[in-house]
């Protein structure tokens, strides 16, 4: 690598959306040489062919262990070091594990050049996790609504209630049992299946 040129960064991530978010962030920050690998087959051969300066991998990826093979002496390639080897910055190591990302850096790349890459990575991973949570919440809210609507229908039919009365009954039962209204609705659906 030319010491002052933009380091070549490989992102190993099976989530295309997260990789895209990270890649965009890196490009905006002026890191132009970014390659995303989403296919884990022959991972090491691809990495050797790309010869990157920095490798970023999400911690949910079992192929992280494959990368550890790069430390083996028998390989005649540049040997990367793991971010965790440098204990001088415990806070950023902790932050990266919390965010769910790990970095491998080829020996010789200056520390002050790594820091902005890792910081950006951490903030983008956290942003993605937040998005994912919101999406999951929205999805489960939608699921709940469907379940509640069906439970309301059952109550209306069996007990001759209006829609509003059926909802009030669900809600008061949920409060009394200290459960979510969606859970009560689900148990009504289950019970009605069983009693069919």
């Amino acid at each position: 690598m030319g010491a002052e040129s933009s380091p070549k960064i490989v992102i190993v991530d099976e989530s295309p959306i997260r990789a895209a978010i990270l890649e965009e962030g890196l490009r905006e920050a002026g890191f132009t040489g970014v390659v995303h690998i989403s296919e884990m087959q022959s991972l090491l051969a691809r990495i050797y062919a790309l010869d990157p300066d920095v490798i970023l991998i999400d911690l949910e990826n079992p192929s992280r262990d494959v990368l550890e093979q790069m430390f083996q002496v028998s390989r005649a390639v540049r040997r990367p070091i793991a971010m965790f080897v440098d204990q001088s910055d415990a806070a950023s190591i902790q932050a990266s594990v919390d965010a769910g990302v790990s970095a491998y850096i080829v020996d010789g790349l200056k520390k002050e050049r790594i820091k902005p890459i890792l910081d950006l990575c951490i903030s983008r991973f956290n942003a993605f996790a937040k998005l994912q949570n919101e999406l999951d919440r929205a999805k489960s809210a939608l699921e709940d609504r469907k379940v509640i609507d069906r439970a309301k229908g059952i109550l209306m039919k069996l007990k001759g209630l209006t829609e509003d009365e059926a909802y009030v009954l669900l809600r008061s039962t949920a409060m009394r049992e200290k459960k979510k209204i969606g859970e009560i609705a689900q148990s009504i659906l289950t019970a009605s299946e069983l009693l069919k």
Binding site: L59, Q69, A82
Partner: protein, 388 residues
């Protein structure tokens, strides 16, 4: 007695004592509040243990040693007060490689020397015909699987660094990689060998017990400084794991143990496959041939759970043999110091001593292991890394 503990594990049958200790209530009975955290890679387990996100972990024994020596990674001294299992790995080969080895073999196909010599002939033929070198999958550079594969093939004259390719594969990808032809063989723990056989894509060639009579596999690992600050917690953990190991080793408990382990948030494979492993009844070929391996996986019986520093020395010797570590008396001492029979004895007293003497490794090739003369021991092997 203590705050909640977070303990990492990889979904493998040799995490049995740890998982059963928690899910069957042996840990709670010791006053421990344990949350088990399922992990996807050994690197994650190691790093999370190192930085304190985990209080303890199910860990590859060689990773505990490498971490303590600072090999290839940050140096964090580890203490291993309990062996979670001995043996338990197997070497599985593709149907094509199995046929090639069987056509070259002379002698008993369960004899590892016979298969290793046959492998050497297969390798030589492939080289002559210009075929790609064979590729073997294993789980981690610092793994028993790596050393067991190397020990076996080198005994037959195959140089693992020159004649074949060894690649790291995460255990859940092993079977798929064998089926797709990405690898020709692999060495991995349970249940993956049986899964490959059941799917018809592999033959179990050897149980590791064919290669080494007593091979330390996974340990219960804690940071050394943490163990010094929390001796009572360490002792309670050891007792809970020991009770769990005793429970698992009772044949009438195996079905229940297998059900606990099969849970989706634990190992997440069929209970029947897990029970086959615990019972040592293995289907070794897709056409249904069975093999009884009463030493397939030892969870606590025969004193298997008590750490033996000679086993740590043997693993360190393998690191030296294959160029991962340099040889020094200090490193040997540090490696042996990872295995802590003293902590085990302090927790359990004399009740759980092994039935076999220390140092019973029982390798099928080479001289008996001598922890006091590693250089001399390694000199007896033709193939290996020679320090310049």
């Amino acid at each position: 007695m203590t705050g909640p503990l977070h303990i990492g594990f990889i979904p493998l049958v040799d995490a049995a004592a740890l998982i059963v200790a928690v899910d069957k209530g042996f840990a709670a009975a010791e006053g421990l509040d344990v949350t088990l955290v399922r992990e996807v890679s050994w690197s994650n387990v190691r790093d999370k243990l190192n930085i304190g996100l985990f209080d303890a972990a199910h860990l590859l024994a060689p990773v505990a040693i490498a971490s303590s020596l600072g090999l290839g990674h940050v140096k964090v001294p580890i203490a291993a007060p309990f062996n979670l299992g001995l043996n338990g790995n197997a070497i599985t080969v593709s149907p094509a490689l199995h046929a090639d080895i069987m056509s070259e073999i002379s002698g008993d196909p369960f004899d590892p020397m016979a298969t290793a010599l046959a492998l050497a002939r297969v390798v030589a033929k492939r080289r002559k015909s210009g075929a790609e070198p064979l590729t073997f999958g294993m789980t981690f550079p610092f793994s028993t699987h790596n050393y067991q594969l190397r020990f076996w093939m080198a005994a037959g004259g195959v140089d693992p660094d020159e004649d074949v390719r060894l690649v790291v594969l995460p255990p859940p990808y092993m079977v798929e990689s064998l089926a797709s032809g990405h690898v020709d063989a692999f060495c991995v723990g349970a249940p993956w060998n049986s899964v490959a056989v059941d799917l018809g894509v592999g033959h179990i060639l050897h149980l590791v017990a064919d290669i080494l009579v007593r091979a330390v596999e996974k340990v219960l690992a804690v940071r050394q400084d943490w163990s010094e600050k929390n001796p009572d917690v360490v002792a309670a953990l050891v007792r809970a794991a020991f009770r769990a190991a005793e429970f698992i080793e009772q044949p009438h408990n195996r079905a229940e143990a297998a059900r606990i382990l099969a849970q989706p948030e634990r190992i997440g494979v069929d209970a029947e496959v897990i029970q086959r492993t615990l019972d040592g009844r293995l289907k070794i070929s897709p056409d249904g041939i069975m093999r009884e391996g009463n030493r397939y996986l030892l969870v606590g019986r025969e004193g298997a759970a008590r750490p033996d520093p000679v086993q740590a020395a043997w693993l360190y010797a393998q690191m030296v043999r294959w160029g991962q570590a340099s040889i020094s008396p200090e490193a040997l001492k540090a490696a042996m110091g990872v295995f802590r029979p003293d902590l085990y004895d302090a927790a359990l007293g004399r009740q759980a001593k092994p039935t076999e003497p220390s140092g019973a490794i029982g390798a099928f090739a080479g001289p008996a292991f001598d922890a006091n003369d590693i250089a001399g021991h390694l000199a007896a092997f033709k193939i290996g890394h020679r320090p310049s």
